[in-house]
Amino acid sequence: MDSLIYFVLASVTVGGALGVVFGRSPIASLLFMIASLGSTAGIYVMLEAHFLAAIQIIVYAGAIMVLFLFVIMLLNLGHDYKRDIRGGLAILFAFGVTGGIGGLLASRVMPEGTLLLNSYPTGVSIDTEIAEKGIIGVIAEPLFNEYIVAFEFTGVLLFVAIVGALALAKRSD
């Protein structure tokens, strides 16, 4: 049963991603993307990462996609556009290469299972930690201790992105 659900979610994820690329209009692409992101959230749920799933829905499918939608509406991009995907051999090449990588990973990495090394996993089992601190605590604690630097500099990263975007958007005269 689990694997059935997994395969449904996974195919929606991949199919949605393809839909984004091949969508006839920006709006269609956007909706495909929401589907793709939503089913990713579903996979998170299956992994019992409920918090992450919720964040995924709220941030990506909710906030960011709505923003995209606004922008598309605002700029009146809703109509069909000229496809810039070339047909025939180009697609064949593109899919050949990507498919090659995918096939390589599937054929070589998957049979091996997930684990490479005996040392994994280290430390306490994640389940006991969740029981102790709750699922948010398990994410928050390393975030504000071990990874405080990464956290802070993610702030810088976002700030830089904003500054960059503003610099590009601002008309110089």
Partner: protein
């Protein structure tokens, strides 16, 4: 000391913190003044940024007593990181000096420009000090996003916009590959922390395909950033389209920062599984050296020329990652230091010849420079010779160290390829010098007479300092080598 006390992170990342503060300060200053017509804003903010770099340098010097004593976190405060900070700070200081007249003349939004330049340096310095792949990623992205924006900051230049967009899209693409690699490594070793990865791979063998795939994707991400064939194709376009000081900064700082990190990750922490990436790097280095030098032979645009030259240098440096013994590590550090100085000096000259704009970027535009501007021409010639590895310049010493390192680990073929491609590279470096000294400016009616070049103080400084450093590093290299040998990761 340890990072259990989180304040120690501020100590450890002092230079980065200082630069961040200055960058934000510059932005605030720009907002408060809101006076874009001020002609001397460039000079003022340039000086402030320079002060920031100097302050960061002072903090960096002050960190030496703490070096190697903060060890258990995700940030390394070792002499290696401090050395790479020197190189990156030097590169950005020179970029700032080169930019001052340029931004004034091109009426670029000065506060954003300098702030992003500082942010880029922060990102690179963070990356080189990271002991965790997540932090490496964050640093890399800070630097990349800053540079994406800088590449296209001159909105009146369609080429710049194209370059920035191209860089952004492809950069995002490579970031995806990079991140996928990190995920696979995390998946197979259970950690993104380099020390733990090192421990986890002690007795790895070649059956760990997932780990290997991850490592290779990580490498491809880096190869994209430093421009290794066949992941280099964005480089000439982006170099050509970006504002000239930014091209210089990209060619120097991004490359240096990426290679410092590249070496730390692959040379040290993934050394256990060199069997997986060694062959690949061998081929990449070979193809990059030969291919880039051959293509550079027929370039006529100096920015494209320098792009291919930079790609070729990435090939040389890849050998040091591959050989990773103490000699080649010294070679890497020495080479990057010298390369930074020489390339930035070169771009200083380019900016002058282009008259702080994007004109006159063909090789033939340099005809007759030797008689019109002997000082610039002489400095440029020395920098070109250094890039080519001419004896008695710093570049020669760097090449010798790399060669020695390669031979110590029996990479004889690569060493020969390095020598051959160096000899090829002489051709196009000296072709430019040839135009400067041996050609008169063509007197065709439709070429306007080149304007008189005035050298601003800042650029005079860059040229003179670079000149002295390059020659000094070529004739008396032992002090710098001695200092580098105390900064090695491989003790």
């Amino acid at each position: 000391m340890s990072f259990l006390n989180q304040w120690n992170y501020f100590l450890a990342l002092g230079p980065q913190a200082i630069l961040t503060t200055f960058a934000i300060g510059i932005l605030l200053f720009g907002v408060s003044r809101n006076n874009t017509s001020d002609e001397h804003q460039g000079w003022l903010l340039g000086r402030i940024s320079l002060a920031g770099v100097i302050a960061a340098g002072i903090v960096n010097a002050g960190l030496y007593p703490f070096a190697d004593r903060l060890s258990d976190g995700i940030v390394a405060v070792d002499r290696y990181a401090l050395f790479s900070n020197w190189v990156l700070l030097l590169g950005s200081a020179m970029a700032i000096l080169i930019s001052i007249s340029y931004v004034e003349k091109q009426r670029i939004q000065v506060p954003e420009y300098f702030a992003l330049l500082l942010f880029a340096t922060v990102g690179l310095m963070l990356m080189t000090a990271s002991l965790d792949l997540m932090l490496v990623f964050i640093g890399l992205e800070i630097a990349s996003i800053s540079v994406y924006a800088l590449a296209t900051i001159d909105q009146r230049s369609p080429k710049g916009s194209e370059a920035g967009l191209k860089y952004f899209l492809l950069g995002a693409f490579s970031t995806g590959i990079f991140l996928y690699g990190v995920a696979l490594i995390y998946g197979s070793t259970g950690s993104a922390n380099l020390t733990e990865i090192l421990n986890a791979t002690v007795d790895a063998d070649d059956t760990g395909v997932m780990l290997i795939t991850g490592v290779i994707m990580l490498a491809v991400g880096f190869c994209f950033k430093v421009g290794v064939v066949p992941f280099h194709m964005w480089t000439p376009d982006v170099y050509q389209g970006s504002p000239m000081p930014i091209t210089g900064y990209m060619s120097v700082a991004i490359k240096a920062g990426a290679f410092f990190t590249f070496y730390r990750i692959f040379g040290i922490y993934l050394d256990n599984i060199q069997f997986s990436w060694g062959t690949v790097f061998w081929w990449l280095a070979l193809v990059t050296m030969i291919g880039a030098n051959l293509v550079a032979l027929v370039q006529n645009n100096i920015k494209r020329l320098l792009a291919y030259s930079g790609i070729a240098h990435s090939g040389y440096l890849l050998i040091t990652v591959l050989a990773n013994n103490t000699t080649s590590e010294s070679g890497l550090l020495y080479y990057l230091a010298v390369y930074t100085v020489a390339n930035m000096g070169l771009f200083a000259g380019f900016v002058l010849v282009a008259n702080h704009a994007e004109h006159r970027v063909e090789v033939s535009d340099y005809a007759g420079l030797g008689s019109k501007q002997p000082f610039i021409a002489m400095a440029l010639t020395v920098f070109l010779l250094s890039l080519g590895g001419f004896p008695a310049t710093g570049g020669f010493i760097g090449k010798i160290l790399i060669l020695r390192g390669a031979l110590e680990d029996n990479y004889l073929l690569l060493a020969i390829a390095l020598v051959i491609s160096t000899l090829i590279s002489y051709w196009y470096y000296l072709r430019l010098a040839w135009f400067m000294w041996m050609k008169e400016q063509a007197a065709t009616p439709n070429t306007e007479k080149a304007p008189e070049i005035e050298i601003p103080l800042a650029l005079k400084l860059v040229l003179a300092v670079s000149l002295v450093l390059i020659v000094y590093a070529g004739i008396f290299p032992s002090q710098l080598i001695g200092f580098i040998e105390t900064s090695l990761l491989k003790g």
